[in-house]
């Protein structure tokens, strides 16, 4: 058995039994990277040297018999919009092609404290804007389950690295579906936590009120373990919650007897591929057989979500991305005549098309005279959508929907039509708008052999229930942990 195919939990067990070392794990993982990264292109930066140095420290600690966190010695890939002290952090943008943060994001600090080993920074859509990782300035990441397909996005590199066996676990970020949709496309597990569950300090912001960092893994247990390591209140992030999180590792052992599963009709209508609907409902049926209670519910405001999202997210992005102006770090235009010209050239040359499109949209909706018509109305819709979810959760404990309308699409399929690309997030966006947690797990394959994902949505801070539901399905279907065959 190759170490790179094992889950983080299995690796942690072997490390404690003395059957392998952290260095052995890295040897296996880097051998896998050497073998398949040229096909997948999941990483912007690989931190081999630093990783081996860290593994040596961890191995010494194990040798001394120190009691270490379950993540100690476990390799992890981190999305390239999460700041890593001394390691290039580009947001897959020309604008930050040379940016080396002088500090660690809070999640990185926590992972370092656990002894997890950073092996590289994962490719993504530029500034997390996209659903296919095609907007990266540096490279196009391929879907390990079908190399002619996109891995989804924006956390495409994080999902692909895990699916390809180049890392057992990774972190991504999710603003409108950027963890769940690539998890669905790549056939792995991805959790978007409740807004405020995980500190955003050090996450280079796209849309501050929607962004949330979350874990990828090939098993529900790994995702639960990684979530429990990164969640919790952070004084450096005013929006992080003081909520006392449940013990998710214990929770996933529970069953689903009596669990009320809501099926919102609006998520199964036109625009969702028939085979996706069938596979998701088949999985729901299996959970029902295991003792869950299934009921149809309705979320009529779902149709407004995309419009509200693109106004709110773009408005915040237009302000968040204003700091990339060529003055302090990152890219600066080579030639310019004066200050205004420097700003204009730097931002015209440094940002890609999709980023510029959203900055312009966001600038427009915040402009004097348009603010009420767009931003304020989108805020009202946000409230309406959140209230509707809250009422829905009076009738059920979780909701199950498709994660994405289809399996992974081909490169270039949606790049010429931004609105079509935005529609890829139609099932996931509401969850961000309402600040809720959502998880995507594999539930079979489409006719093209590519993975289909189902999404479980819960009320705020119900990660334990989502993970328990996911783990039950994982047990029913005999496990998700498959590394893509890239031979």
């Amino acid at each position: 058995m190759e170490l790179y195919t094992l889950s983080a939990a299995e690796l942690a067990k072997l490390l404690r039994e003395g059957k392998c070392t952290a260095t052995d794990i890295l040897d296996s993982v880097f051998a896998r990277i050497d073998a398949v990264e040229n096909k997948v292109e999941a990483f912007v930066t690989i931190t081999r040297e630093e990783a081996y140095a860290k593994a040596k420290e961890i191995d010494e600690k194990f040798a001394r018999g120190e009691k270490l966190h379950p993540l100690a010695g476990i390799p992890i890939a981190i999305k390239d919009n999460i700041c890593t002290n001394g390691v290039l952090t580009t947001c897959s943008s020309k604008m930050l092609y040379n940016f080396v943060p002088p500090y660690d994001a809070t999640v990185m600090q926590k992972l370092n404290d656990c002894g997890a080993i950073l092996i590289g920074k994962a490719n993504m859509d530029e500034f997390a804007m996209g659903s296919s990782t095609e907007t990266s300035y540096f490279k196009k990441t391929k879907n390990p389950r079908g190399l002619d397909r996109v891995p989804g996005g924006s956390s495409g590199g994080s999902a692909a690295a895990v699916a390809a066996g180049m890392a057992p676990i990774s972190l991504g970020s999710d603003t409108g579906g950027s963890i769940r949709q690539p998890a669905s496309f790549c056939g792995v597990v991805g959790l978007k936590p409740t807004y405020g569950a995980v500190s955003r300090f050090g996450l280079i912001a796209f849309a501050s009120s929607l962004d949330q960092i979350g874990p990828f893994g090939r098993t529900v247990g790994d995702v639960a373990m990684l979530f429990s390591a990164i969640c919790g209140r952070d004084p450096m992030d005013a929006t992080s919650s003081k909520h006392e999180h449940a013990d998710v590792l214990a929770a996933i052992q529970g069953d689903v007897k009596g669990l009320r599963i809501g099926i919102p009709a609006e998520y199964y209508g036109d625009g969702i591929d028939a085979e996706v609907r069938e596979k998701v409902m088949a999985a729901v049926k299996q959970l029902e057989e295991a003792g869950a209670i299934v009921k149809e519910i309705s979320l009529p405001s779902t149709k407004y979500a995309l419009s509200a999202y693109y106004i709110l997210a773009s408005a915040e992005a237009s302000s968040n991305l204003a700091r990339f102006d060529g003055v302090k770090y990152g890219y600066r235009a080579k030639e310019y005549s004066d200050l205004t010209d420097m700003y204009e050239r730097t931002r015209s040359e440094g940002f890609g098309e999709e980023v510029k499109r959203r900055i312009m949209l966001g600038t427009f909706v915040l402009s004097s005279g348009y603010y009420d018509a767009y931003y304020n109305r989108a805020k009202l819709l946000q409230r309406q959508i959140a209230d509707e979810f809250a009422r829905g959760f009076e009738e059920c404990d979780v909701m199950i929907t498709p994660t994405s309308p289809s399996t992974a699409f081909q490169f270039g399929a949606n790049t010429s039509d931004p609105v079509k690309m935005y529609a890829a997030d139609v099932c996931t966006i509401n969850v961000n708008i309402a600040g809720l947690p959502g998880i995507s797990i594999p539930c079979g394959n489409g006719a093209d052999g590519l993975p289909i994902g189902l999404q479980i949505i819960g009320p705020k801070f119900s990660e334990d229930v989502l993970l328990r539901t996911a783990a039950n399905y994982e047990r029913i279907c005999g496990g998700f942990n498959t590394v893509a065959d890239l031979a």
């Binding site: 700041c83 943060p101 955003r200 929006t239 302000s319 770090y329 915040l366 402009s367």
Partner: protein, 479 residues
């Protein structure tokens, strides 16, 4: 035609909290360039602000002092614009819901202490920007980010001010309150108080406002006076020639005493304000708001009016006293010990202030106490020492633990009123100055002062000058 000048002021004051508004960096002036900054105040990608709650407390206290309504639930907004001294390309400020609003400041209008009420529209909190530096050896500009994230309050007045003199009183009133509350260093030269001036004019008796012009770069209170007078005259000249005043922003050039257009109304920036999603709604509980209200000391205007009324002090003295809370408190304590109020202010605002200025120190840096000053004044009142000897006593006690009585004893400063001793001195002086006596006989009575002075010298300063004057005059008449 007669015109009325209408002025509104926007005062920015840096708050003197120990740390900055959104990070833990030190808030201090004059540190080495770019030494008080971190990823947060330099706007590094991924960094997030966390509000320093002291800033809210300070601003609420200012709000109470200016009789404002406190919005104990309010938010922070982003003001978006590009400038190299603004690292995030937005300033965190407050837009439509300021922390404090609808207040007023009473300014003193005359020496009787009559006041005029100037409305305060709002007070909000915001962060300061950095500073651009221009060094000859670099082709471009440099930026010092020490000031990024220094907390500010912006205090906006209603257009209730009608002259440059009123504007100055208003600014001095605001400054005095900031000092009383000890929430700002109030050093104009360090930029800790800055102001923007809005000026319009209208024909006297007209009740609609004229077109308003905003002036930037007004860096001192006296510059504000000059800038207002200049701009009002400029607008009046435009109107007199049949022209129209344009709504624009102008830059005051204090060196040349003129202003010039910075930008016109058409170029006004759209700041695209929206609520900062990185920060929570500010919620201050009512009890804490009240607690802050209870901590406000008696304010300068009320204190000044009380000094005029209770102590019968002249306006000039009262005004100087209330400028500084330490001096005012010292004055009141000394007067409470029985010293005549006017004697106290003479000493406090005269010789004591001179020593403080000479040594560049504060009253609290000295060993002067109300008890010592009251004792010294009592010695003078009882004619135990002369007023001049009082100055010697002051020099001895101000930086030591000695009491006035000890100094009088040690230095032999006790005033001599014993007439037989003084008569003898007067006889000697008159005998030694026949020329002065001749002059006196010719009607030059002012030689009396000269002769008394000679007597004082002969008594080594200890003679009672009043007694000596009587004796000398009596003897001259008798000659």
């Amino acid at each position: 035609m007669d015109y009325e000048i209408v002025v509104g002021l926007e005062v920015h004051a840096e708050l003197n909290t120990a740390t900055k508004i959104y990070c833990g960096c030190k808030n201090s002036f004059g540190s080495e360039v770019n030494s008080n900054c971190c990823p947060i105040c330099t706007g590094m990608p991924g960094s997030l602000p966390s509000l320093n709650e002291k800033v809210v407390d300070y601003a609420i206290r200012m709000g109470h002092a200016l009789n404002c309504t406190i919005n104990n639930v309010c938010k922070q907004d982003r003001k978006n614009y590009f400038y190299p001294d603004l690292p995030k390309a937005y300033q965190i400020s407050q837009y439509d819901v300021p922390l404090c609003e609808n207040g007023y400041l009473d300014i003193i209008m005359d020496e009787d202490g009559n006041t005029k009420r100037i409305g305060v529209t709002r007070i909000h909190i915001e962060e300061d920007a950095g500073k651009l530096l221009h060094a000859e050896r670099f082709s471009g500009s440099l930026v010092d980010m020490n000031r990024c994230g220094v907390p500010l309050v912006e205090i906006v007045s209603e257009p209730d001010i009608r002259s440059s003199k009123e504007a100055k009183s208003y600014l001095e009133g605001i400054k005095a309150i900031l000092g009383y509350l000890d929430i700002s260093d109030c050093k104009m030269q360090e930029g800790s108080i800055r102001c923007d001036v809005n000026v319009s004019v209208r024909p006297a008796g007209n009740d609609t406002f004229g077109t308003r012009v905003e002036m930037k770069n007004v860096n001192s209170f006296s510059a504000a006076e000059r800038a207002i007078d200049y701009e009002a005259q400029r607008q009046i000249a435009v109107l007199e020639k049949g022209g129209v005043v344009l709504q624009e922003t102008r830059r005051w050039d204090d060196v040349n005493g003129i202003n010039e257009v910075l930008r016109s109304k058409e170029d006004a920036q759209d700041y695209r304000y929206f609520p900062d999603p990185d920060l929570l709604t500010i919620v201050v509980d009512e009890a804490h708001v009240q607690e802050l209200k209870d901590s406000i000391p008696e304010l300068p205007v009320h204190r000044l009016q009380r000094y005029l009324r209770e102590y019968g002090l002249p306006y000039f003295d009262s005004n100087l006293l209330v400028e500084n809370l330490d001096k005012a408190a010292f004055f009141e304590k000394t007067a409470a010990l029985g010293a005549a109020p006017k004697s106290v202010t003479n000493w406090l605002l005269g010789d004591i202030t001179k020593v403080l200025n000479d040594k560049n120190c504060l009253l609290s840096d000295t060993k002067m106490t109300p008890e010592k000053l009251a004792e010294m004044i009592a010695l003078i009142d009882k004619k135990e020492i002369s007023n001049n000897a009082g100055k010697t006593v002051l020099d001895e006690i101000i930086f030591s633990d000695k009491t006035p009585a000890q100094v009088v004893e040690e230095k032999g400063l006790k005033q001599i009123s014993d007439s037989s001793f003084l008569e003898g001195i007067a006889d000697e002086v008159i005998a030694a100055n026949p020329k002065a006596v001749e002059d006196y006989k010719k009607g030059k009575t002012n030689v009396v002062g000269f002769l008394v002075g000679q007597c004082m010298r002969a008594s080594k300063g200890q003679g009672n000058p009043a007694t000596l004057k009587e004796i000398v005059e009596r003897k001259l008449v008798a000659l």
